[in-house]
């Protein structure tokens, strides 16, 4: 028997989510179904409401896509850190008041650890560059006969390697902490002045990043 369908499109559209969740009363659900899909058993050409049916398909598509969002695996580093902290510090707290705390200090967030390391690395790098750029004091008797040319190629290579390592470390920390150092900032504000200072100080050939 053809059910009554006293409902408007706006009412049906409001019920689509409940309809998909099977949360509507049976008579109401039948009316919504008829509104959406029509009745073919009587031989009529009624194919239901195309607009509402389209919205039903959109709702089904959203559900389908939501269902495809999968559970993610927690990185092992997180659990290893947690277990290490739990082992290292102390026992869990006994059943005290709600405000009681153990002596275990909460581990600082990793972005804070990374940020502190990045700041330290950047400071060291900056100090190194400043030391190179600072005008030499008047030569004294002790180092008057020292000159840049006395640095061996091995020492220069090692200095360059250390600088590269420091920069690589800063970049790695930046990636780890989600901080993006823009190339132009890195090159113009950090690498270029460092390279110029090194070139001036050591009369060295241009460093690779100066060839950009």
């Amino acid at each position: 028997m053809r059910p009554e369908n006293p409902y408007t499109c706006s009412e049906v559209l409001e019920w689509i989510e409940l309809y998909l969740d099977d949360d509507l009363e049976r008579p109401l659900a039948q009316s919504v179904r008829w509104h959406l899909e029509g009745q073919h058993e009587s031989g009529g050409a009624d194919a239901g409401c195309a607009t509402c049916r389209r919205e039903l398909r959109r709702a089904e598509r959203v559900r389908y896509e939501l269902g495809r969002l999968s559970e993610e695996r927690c990185p092992d580093l997180v659990t290893a850190t947690v277990m290490e902290e739990a082992r290292r510090h102390d026992e869990p707290s006994a059943g005290g008041g709600a405000g009681s705390r153990t002596t275990a200090f909460p581990a600082p967030p990793r972005w804070l650890q990374a940020g502190a390391l990045a700041a330290a690395a950047a400071t060291l790098l900056w100090l190194g560059v400043q030391a190179i750029r600072t005008p030499e004091p008047q030569p004294t008797a002790i180092h008057a006969d020292l000159s840049i040319s006395e640095y061996s190629p091995q020492e220069l290579a090692r200095a360059e390697q250390e600088l590269r390592l420091a920069l690589g470390y800063v970049a790695a920390i930046g990636r780890r902490s989600g901080v993006a150092l823009r190339d132009d900032v890195l090159v113009d504000d950090v690498l270029a002045p460092s390279a110029e200072a090194l070139e001036r100080a050591f009369a060295a050939p241009p460093l690779p990043w100066r060839e950009r």
Partner: protein, 178 residues
């Protein structure tokens, strides 16, 4: 103590992925999600003995949700501060899904993740718990301290909001004939 540590380790293994997943979809930032998960699991250890007889799964969900919300507020404050300082170094965390996940998911799936993060609370939490983590409505209700009917209404409205947010994307995906 060793027994407690062992039991704690088992609890960590049991819940870690669920907590990380919630934080990841809530925040959209893997690094922050790792921080939140670590913080929550350490909090579990600090409260281990107090939780005897407590539904640990529900407790963890509540704590993770609160920690995620706090992390989100901190990030929003940091963004505001950075903008006002006119930083030369761009330090705004990237809240798009990470590259591996971007590559693995469809265009609509990626937009869906973004749209999910545009939802206000409690729509976002409820949809993550219901649709991604497949928790029953009743469990969500008891975890969030809401009536069952309220959770259902939020879930329905949340999905409807998602449909509205994805309207342009869905236009190309769903045809009248389907």
């Amino acid at each position: 103590m060793p027994d407690e540590l062992e039991a704690f380790g088992e609890a960590v293994e049991c819940h870690k992925n669920r907590l990380f997943t919630f934080a990841l979809y809530f925040l959209g930032d893997r690094s922050q999600a790792e921080d939140v998960t670590q913080e929550v699991l350490l909090k579990l250890w600090r409260n281990w003995r107090k939780l005897d007889g407590v539904d640990v799964a529900a407790w963890l969900t509540t704590v993770t949700r609160n920690a995620s919300y706090d992390a989100l507020r901190v990030r929003q404050r940091a963004r505001t501060r950075l903008r006002s300082l006119d930083e030369t170094v761009h330090a705004v965390p990237d809240d798009r899904p990470d590259p591996a996940r971007r590559a693995a998911s469809s265009q609509l799936g990626r937009r869906l993740e973004e749209a999910l993060r545009e939802l206000a609370e409690p729509y976002r939490s409820i949809l993550i718990l219901r649709e991604i983590q497949q928790l029953p409505h009743q469990e969500i209700a008891s975890t969030l301290g809401m009536q069952l009917s309220t959770v259902k209404v939020y879930a329905h409205r949340g999905r409807k909001k998602l449909r509205e947010l994805l309207s342009d994307d869905l236009d190309g995906e769903v045809s009248d004939a389907s």
